[in-house]
Structure formats: C-alpha cells, structure tokens
Subunit: 218 residues, 2 copies
Amino acid sequence: MNNLENVSRSVSRPTLMRLPGYLNYLKLRQKDELVNISATKIASDLKLNHVQVRKDLASISSGGRPKTGYDIKELISDISTFLGYDNVNEAILVGAGKLGKTLLSYDGFSDYGLNILAAFDTDKNLIGNTINGKPIFSLEKLKDVCKRLNLRIGIITVPAAKAQKICNLLIDSGILAIWNFAPVHLHIPDNIILQNENMAASLAILANQLSERIQRKI
Amino acid sequence: MNNLENVSRSVSRPTLMRLPGYLNYLKLRQKDELVNISATKIASDLKLNHVQVRKDLASISSGGRPKTGYDIKELISDISTFLGYDNVNEAILVGAGKLGKTLLSYDGFSDYGLNILAAFDTDKNLIGNTINGKPIFSLEKLKDVCKRLNLRIGIITVPAAKAQKICNLLIDSGILAIWNFAPVHLHIPDNIILQNENMAASLAILANQLSERIQRKI
DNA sequence: TAGATTGTTAATCGATTAACAATC
DNA sequence: TAGATTGTTAATCGATTAACAATC
C-alpha cells in the first residue's frame, strides 16, 4: 500500500513483545563488561529457540558477525531506538486512585520512554495535590490540556464502570493511544490504538496451570 | 499420557486469555436482565470472530441451543468454575512497596478467586503494619508461613535486582506458582509455574503502534 | 416451514522450529 | 583449516477463519 522508504520496519506482535526482554537481558550482560554475545547464548539464557532470537534481532538490527556474535552495545541501541525509548512519549493519566497513584509514583517508565505529565480526577480532595512532582487536575481541564500540549497517550486507571466514559473523553480530546487498566472491554473507533493491561487474563492462566498441575500430581 | 476421566478439559492459551473477557461481558449483560445470548452477538460486541467465540464457549460449557443461543447464567457459572474463581486460591506477596501496597489494597482479586493473605518485606518500618487488613511480616518468616499454611501462589513485587533471590526463596518455601511483577526474566525449574506481568511489553506495543500510525499519517 | 442459530469439518494464515548454506 | 556462529529457506505446528451441515 504505502511504499515510503523510511517507514519503520514492521515486526510481528510476538517479536515486539519479546524485544523489551532482550533489552533487559542485554543491559544486565553489559554490566558484566561483556562486549559480544551470541544468539545461542541469549536463547539458552532466556529459554527461547535460537533461530527465533536470530530472526527477532535481524528484524531490528543490522546484525552480528559469524564466530563473534552481536555487539551488545549496538544491539541495545538498536532495540531502544526501535521501541522508541529514545524519544520521550508524553502521557496523561485519568483516575488518581490507588493504582493511578502507583503509576504516577513509578519512575521506571522513563526507561521505556514514557513520561506521565499529569493526572486528572473528579475527587476534590485530590485535585490540586501533587504526586511525585506530577499535578492532579480537575477532569474538566483534561480536554484543554490534551489539545494544548498535543498529547497522544492516555492512561485509564478509573473504576470499570467509568472507563468507557473516560475513554470517549480522551478520544474527544485528541488522544490516539490508550493504555487501559480498567477491567472492561472498551469500544473504540478503528483509528484509536488500545492496549489493555489485563491482570485478570494473567491470573486466569496462572490459576489454570496451577490447578492442572495439582490434578496431575494427585 | 494421562487418561484420567475428570482431568479438567484443557484449553489453548489464547482461549484461556479470552475467557475472563467473556465473563466480564456476560455479567454486564446479565444486569440488563437478559436471559439468553448468541455467540454472534457476543462476537460483534467484543470484536471477535463468531466461530472463535463458539469454539471458546464449546470448550468450557455444555453449549447453547440453536435459535435461542446460550443461557447467560449457565455460561457465567461454567466460565467461573473453569477458571477456578469459585474455589479460593490463597497467596502471599513479597515486597510491600508502592506496587505491593496497591495490590494488597485492591479488593477486586476476590472476583478472580485470589485472596492475598499477607505480605513480607525486609523494611523494619513496614513490618508489623497492616494494609487493608493484611499483615506485613518479616521476610524471615516467609518460609515458615508458606509451609504451615501449605500455600502455593506467591506474588513478587520487589525491585528487579532482588527478584531472583525472592523467587528462589519462594520455591524453597514450597510455592508452585509465581506471579512476577518485577521487570526481569526469572530462572525457574520446569515444574514451577511463572506468569510475568509484563508492563514493558504492553508499553512497547502501544508505543510502536502509535509511532507507526503517526508515520503513516504524515 | 423458514430462518436464526449452534456446532463441525476443511482451508488458510502466521509463527515457530528444523535443516542447511554462508561466513569469519 | 576447522568450527562457531550468522542468516535463510523449507517444514511443521497451532490458531483463526471460512464453508457447511444440523437443529430447534
């Protein structure tokens, strides 16, 4: 469809999800003063197939050298760049309850290129406060702030029942990508990007595997 | 391998991850005083393929009736039972920092059959305190408590650098399933169940899709 | 009966893995 | 040179989707 030269190489979803894991691992290895690393080694440490690792790395990096492997520093830089960890993405968060506050307090997101600028809530006791240097504003100001700062990422940490309404408001405010922590299915237009942080699904897998294991053993 | 009659039907991982979504949706529908629902309707509301929905439901339920569809109440009960939301899973949590406290405070886990009994930490200022009725104990007591109560689920909310050590301790204490919130790859024996709550991966997907979208539009 | 719906069998699609060639 | 390693092409596997038959 679109034949532009410098469109970012596109990568399968599973590959994309493994990339942060590689990055993490490589940073640890770098601390050990290692310079090169082989796909074989990465694969065995991360319990992955070595061809898969090679394909993943090939899709975002200029590649390694036979016998020596990959240059760790180069690989770290390639993955970081691909994931967009270099250029900061600015976001706002809606719902300054417990989870919202936790996310506001967490400084680790900057490693992933995410910077939460501010939070919004309807609770008068919260409005005007600051958490980890980030102000909490009235929800009424959301649209204005988003438009003025041309923000594109919104994080939803309100209760399930309110999530759809907030979602609509975010979209109306020009937000393009939504990171949803509320346990509901949100209805969105096709052009909006939605990522659900699905703890219920994780827990389902854990509990299911556990019960299978226990049944097997008895 | 194992031909026991009443081994729980096993289900693909994608199906398993969709089940909590169906449950959620059905509970909402039930509030609308609806009695029956068709797979077609579920599929269109949840933006899934209708055959997929039918297969998913067939794998855990006795099924619906042509023309009428499925009985919502029955379906809710079937999914809940399959996911083990009926019988409570007891868990302990290690690391009563911000994220740990948030999880302790969150009462919604009981909907998923998870009950966090207590937390463990090394911080003297936290030990002895109670959060949402759940006590924080010294890490030294972990093994004893796990063994005595025969606990099987451990939640890791310590910083990345400490996670592997805690993981080892949990396994040594008889824990079989670990829900890991620390952003590291944990090394575990084959017989231990590990579920990573991978926020970095979610964020990677979000940021990647956003940058693709923005590139496309310019 | 007609038609909406379930449920199954076959085709397609995409990701993983295996086999092999190329290179330093 | 020999062997460790990269990278590619082909085979396999599993999940999704399409086509169709069965049922109320």
